[in-house]
Structures are given as C-alpha cells and as structure tokens.
Amino acid sequence: MKAFFFSRHSREKVLLTALLALVAVVWLLRVGRSSRELWLEWRTAAATLATQQQWIDNRANIEVAAAKAIEHLDPARAFSSPQLLGELSTIADKIGVRANTTSEIIGTDRTSLFSINSVQFSLRNTDWDSLKRFYLELSQRSPYIGIEQFSLTVNPANPTLLTATLRVSSVEIVR
C-alpha cells in the first residue's frame, strides 16, 4: 500500500487522502449517530425489561395480595355488569327517580380471580334530598359497589334541580 501511495503523483496522493478523509468523516458521523440511537434504544429496552422483571419478581406477592383482597368478599353479593345496571335501576326505582336516570356499561377489567365492572350513571333534574337518598342507598352496597368518580351540576334555569353523573364500579368474583 505504501509503495502504491508513494508511486502516485502529488495530485493523486492529495485526492486519495481527501477521498479517504471524506469517507472516514461521513462514516464516523453516521456511526456516531447510530451509536447514539442504539444507546437510547438500549437504555429503553433495558428499562422496559427491568420493569417487566420487577413485575414478574413480584408476581407471587401480587397474587397473594389479590387473593387476600377478595377473600372477605361474598361472591353471592357481588355484581356482574348487567347485575350492576339492574341494581342501580332498582335503587332509582325505590327512590322514585327512575325516569330521570340513564346508565351505560363502560367496561370490565378482568383477572383470573375477579373482575371490576364500571358503569356510567346519570341522575338528571333531581332535588338534593332524592340525590342524597340515592347516594345513601348506594353506599349500603359498599364495598361490592363503589363510586369512583362524581360530578354534580346545577340547572342554571332552576338552581334546586341537580344533575349527578357517577362512575360506579362493582366487584365480581370469578371462581
């Protein structure tokens, strides 16, 4: 290689060196960029794997905790999604506000041991006392039924009329 290089004309030597320098710079820059990307991906992958490993390592504890969470629950008093809808209607009926309600199943989160069913429930244009009675009736089903979100809006035309929107959840035991 040395003999080849030294046997070239000066211009060829300069051109060869410049060409090689260009290739080296371009390649090194590209390699640098790729290395940085790889490093970031590497860190992300390592962090994801570490997080997954933590979950897997804690699997036994979580399963024990999950089993413990439901061990005092009576499956007979638990509610599936349709049962939850039915129970909310029953309470509204009992209070006498059934006509003012709408409810919709919004989802179920399942595990092998239990499920949590969620329903969006609205009670429109009702007075404070009816709302409170509905709320207290619902509270008696705790912990099988619970409120996870609540909003109350006053009717601008008639401040004594209220609209309550609740996200209600029920526990369902899978055995």
Partner: protein, 381 residues
Amino acid sequence: MSVLPNFTLSAAAVKKAVLLPDHAFFVRVMPVAPGTPPDGIPSQVEMALEGLSPFAIPQLCYGYFFPPGAGRVLVYAAYRRRFTVADAEQWTDADAVLPAFAACLGLAPVKPLALLVTGADFVTALGWDGRDVVPAVVQTRAVAIDAPPEERAAVQAELAAQLKAFPPPAEVAAPTATTSRIGDGDLRFTIGTLTARFESAQLDALDVRDKTELAARRRDRARDSYLWRAFLGCAAAIALAAVLQLGIEGGRLWLRSRALQTASQAAAVQEIETKHNLANRIEELFTRRLLPLEMITLVGEKLPGSNIQFLRTVTKGLYVLEIEGQTNATTDVFKYQAALKDLPACEHVELGQTTDRGGVTRFILTVTFKPAAVRPAAPPS
C-alpha cells in the same frame, strides 16, 4: 485478482537510483576536526572543493559522505558538463543520483575491509581501516568497455597494490540498482553478499544533483510523508468506523432479541399489572371510599351568609373536590376561600381561574381534604 495490480509489479515498486561511472569523479578523503557539528560539514566541503577544483561550485556535481561521529569526510565531484542533458533528464524522477562506488559507502564496516568494485568502464578500490566508517582509501581507474582482460587485470592489480594496508580485497560488481521499494524510508544496494544501506538524510548529502533541486525534493518528501500519515490516519478511522458499525449491528441483533423477550413477556406482565391495579381498587373500595356528598355537605356548611352559588362540583381522586361557582359579590369568593381553609377536614384550598363579566364573578376552587377526615354519612333509618 488484486484491486491494485501495481502491487505485484516489483519493478514499478522499486526505488530508482542512477549510479554514475566512478571515473567521472575526483574523490578526496579529508579529516574532520573532532566535535564538528553535522550542519557545519556542507560549508567545509564547499570550501574544500573551491580549493581542489578549477571549476566554480555551481559548475560541479558533487556530494559527500559523513555519517555522524565520523572523523573524516569523503568528498567527490565531477564537472557538470561531463553529463549530457539526456543524462540529466533521467535524473529527475530518480530517488538518488550518485557514483557507483558511493553505493558501497553504506556498508559502513566496523572491521577493516577492502573492495575492488568493477564496473563496465571503471574499477574502484575502497579500503576501510576499521577505525572509521568512512573509507581511508578510494581510488578509481577508467577502463575501456572493450578493454582486453589483461588490461583490466593490470588495472585491478595496480589498485590492489594500493590496498596493501588492508585485508585482501574482495572483487565485487558495481551495483546497478537499489533493492528498496517505493515508500521505504531508506535506500539499499546489494554489494556482492553484503547490503549497503542509507537513511534519507544521508542520501541528500550523497546525491550529486543541484542542491536547490534536492531541497525542493526534500520538501516534497516531507509533504508526502505528512500525506501518507494522514492517509494512514483516515484508513485507521475507516477501520474504526467499520469495527463500530459491526458493533452496532451486533447491538441491534441483541436489541432485537430483547424486543422479542419483551414481547413474549408482555402478556404475562400485563396480567400481573392488571391484577395489582384491580387489587388496589378493591382495597380502595374497602378502605378508602370516595365520599362526594359528604365533601359537598362540608363545603356547603360555610356558604350561608354569602351570595355564592355552586354551578358544578367534580371529584378528582379520593380527596379533592373542584367547585365551580358564581357570585355577584367578588369579595365573597375570598371570604369563602378563607372560611374553607379554617375547616379542620380541609388540607388545602386553591383559587383557580376567576373571571368577572357583567357584575357576575365566576371562579373555580380546588379543595383538598385530609385523608380519613371526611366521615361517611349515617345510613337512612
């Protein structure tokens, strides 16, 4: 097939040395004062030549041999016009131009040695006394190319007689070419079974070409040397880039295997995560119930006496209640905020967006209750 076929062409890859007939030069060996620095030698040589030669220095082709530490210097010179323009043209691309005997000086023997160097039209006797790497005796005689063997033998005998003080002389053919490859830092000649070697710096002194031209060649050599180093540096950088690229590809393979592992575990991890979240939610249903009406009742107890009207209340998590309200007395908002802060169950009250339009002030208050401070209302009897 090689990408660079010139690599295998040894003739093209060998350095070019022009070896001139010895008889064209007059040669002198002169003592040098001990401790003379090497950079003082050229001026001494030129002074000596001015004394020895009937020609001016610019009319001479001359060179000298003075390795560092030597006690003598060997000087040789020839009248420039003894060489034709055609001869000089051949010198332009040569790596060295020197008399043939000068190629033997690179032997630099440490023991006494005598050589009879025979060329086509000359015979040269060289004798080293072992005390100095510069020969003590250098004598040359011209011999006609077509001279009969007897005449040539007579010349050799005459020169051998001048080497009586040395070991019996070895007869060797005058070297005709160098054995060094282009790019080598030195220049080598094969003399019989021996090898003479010169460094680049020595060659500049030995070379008989114009010294200005040699200085330009020296600059070219230095530039070529820098270019070669830069070329090597770039090649090394490319090699490094290639190694890093391989490493990156290896890393990507590893990442792909990690991604497969992550994907294969994802379902199981999701299941565990869901179980954990749902267990927490059940735990909350048991122990940390959301009590919205109790919170509204608590904040409502502070309303009497003010003109504030609630428009909307929303829970945010278990302990935060956001109240959107309006009033026609702006100061009531601040009074109400202060009253809420005094509530024992209240941890924090923050007044958010407040607007005033047409004499009606609308506001948002975010009330954070202390955990377990809000008690469930009594069930209906």
